[in-house]
Amino acid sequence: MSKTILIVDDSLSMRQLVKMTLTGAGHQVIEAVDGRDALNKLTGQKINLIISDVNMPNLDGIGLVKALKARNEYRFTPIVMLTTENEQSKKAEGQAAGAKAWIVKPFQPQQLLSAVEKLAS
């Protein structure tokens, strides 16, 4: 079933690859270039899942998760962190902020789609 997914990444190439993977599976995609852009683009519409990078300018991924948890309409929207960071301390930080999953780049398309299938509300 088609889901609406927000991709947040400052890397154009990563956004393109994630978008290609998701749209190929029939999902709708909204793009944002960083955490601040993501917050500006979330204007109350239904989002089934958010996939966010961690290291980004303006507002990083962890900051975005915290900001979303403070907004009633997106408090329960599942968030997947997709990042090159593989340090346990960073993962723990993401978990504490409220992320639902942590995928280390490079991602396998099938792996990402499985996570979407599992988490998208």
Binding site: S11, L12, S13, M14, Q16, L17, K19, M20, T21, T23, G24, V54, N55, T83, T84, E85, N86, K91, G94, Q95, A99, K100, A101, W102, I103, V104, K105, P106, F107, Q108, P109, Q110, Q111, A115, K118
Partner: protein, 359 residues
């Protein structure tokens, strides 16, 4: 002198790496050059050193060679250009790859659906089956017609029997007429006593004449019926012969068609199997390419950290007496690292492709 040589060697390596599109050679060259440049700086002056009041300009002037101050911004600028070129070109490459991949999957999927299960193959199988049914229906109709002809043939035999019976009726009428004639003669001989019998004999003779006429008409009608039946049977036999010929032609044509279709079906089945296999290989290749293409993101992050560090070094060289402890500098640099390659270097394993954690 050796340090200057190392500085120039680093510059050459960086230039060669950029020309050969070998990022690691460029990075190694930049690091070697940076190290040599740092070694070129004068030793840190002790805090208690007091410079002569007559030379205040020396205290204010940067403590690094002009070459380093000129080169560091250029390196940072070049590095920025490299990142820009990479992002721009790989972005376009990704767009084309995504479009190509989408079109390829769409085409393969469409071909599979047309040639595969619900498409031409199924249509050919259905046509094959229908042809078989049509041929069977013609054969069944022909068999029913043959049975009908046999029944008509039997009618001919009944009609012949009727004709024989009609002749018997005529014979009986003829004999009855003769008998009535004899009875009339005998009645005439009897005179007045035979008058009544003569009337009866006359009536019997009339009846026998009528019977003879009726028998004659029956013979004629049965003859007509026989003629009609024979005509029908003859026409039906001629039609049957023509129909048998048509059925043989139908059998031949349907046989050839079915053989042709069967061959086409075999080819289509093989093509479909090949197409499905190609689809699986293509999808796997696309997935591998998607994984491979993510190098740009990691490389860009590493270049970003390098650019930030170069800028930090450039700012440090602007200071007359910066605190440039190598360990502290490297510790600050490492804190920026975000990739496994940065933390572990080339000897370290690349990031695993199945590293996923659910919380």
């Amino acid at each position: 002198m050796l340090v200057y040589c190392l500085l120039w060697l680093g510059l050459l390596l960086a230039a060669a790496g950029t020309a050969a599109n070998q990022l690691w050679i460029s990075v190694a060259g930049l690091l070697l050059g940076t190290g040599a440049a740092l070694a070129l700086r004068p030793g840190k002056r002790p805090a208690e050193t007091v410079l002569p009041a007559a030379t205040p300009a020396l205290v204010e002037a940067p403590a690094y060679p002009p070459l380093l101050q000129a080169v560091l911004p250029a390196w940072a600028e070049n590095l920025g250009q490299v990142r820009h070129i990479l992002q721009e070109n790989i972005g376009r490459l990704f767009e084309r790859f995504a479009s190509l991949s989408q079109r390829l999957e769409h085409t393969l999927g469409h071909s599979e659906s047309v040639i595969g299960g619900g498409g031409i193959t199924e249509g050919l199988r259905s046509a094959n089956q229908k042809l078989d049914e049509v041929a069977a229906a013609f054969h069944a109709a022909s068999e029913r017609k043959r049975q009908l002809l046999a029944t008509i043939g039997n009618l001919n035999q009944y009609a012949s029997e009727l004709q024989t019976m009609s002749k018997h009726v005529q014979d009986i009428a003829s004999q009855t007429n003769l008998l009535a004639l004899n009875a009339a003669i005998e009645a005439a001989r009897a005179g007045e006593y035979g008058r009544g019998f003569s009337v009866v004999a006359d009536e019997v003779r009339k009846l026998s004449s009528l019977s003879a006429e009726t028998g004659q008409r029956m013979v004629e009608k049965v003859g007509e019926i026989n003629g009609a039946i024979r005509g029908t049977v003859t026409a039906a036999e001629e039609m049957s012969g023509s129909e048998e010929s048509n059925l043989r032609y139908l059998d031949q044509v349907t046989g050839e068609l079915m053989q042709g279709l069967s061959g086409s079906l075999d080819e289509l089945t093989e093509t479909t199997r090949q197409l499905q296999q190609d689809m699986r290989v293509t999808q796997a290749d696309i997935q591998e390419i998607v994984v491979g293409l993510q190098f740009q993101d990691r490389a860009d992050q590493m270049l970003d950290h390098l650019q930030i560090d170069l800028d930090r070094l450039r700012q440090a060289t602007d200071q007359p007496h910066p605190d440039l402890q190598p360990e502290r500098w490297l510790a600050d640099l490492r804190r920026q690292f975000t990739t496994a390659e940065e933390r572990q270097g080339r000897r370290g394993a690349s990031a695993r492709q199945d590293d996923i954690t659910f919380f």
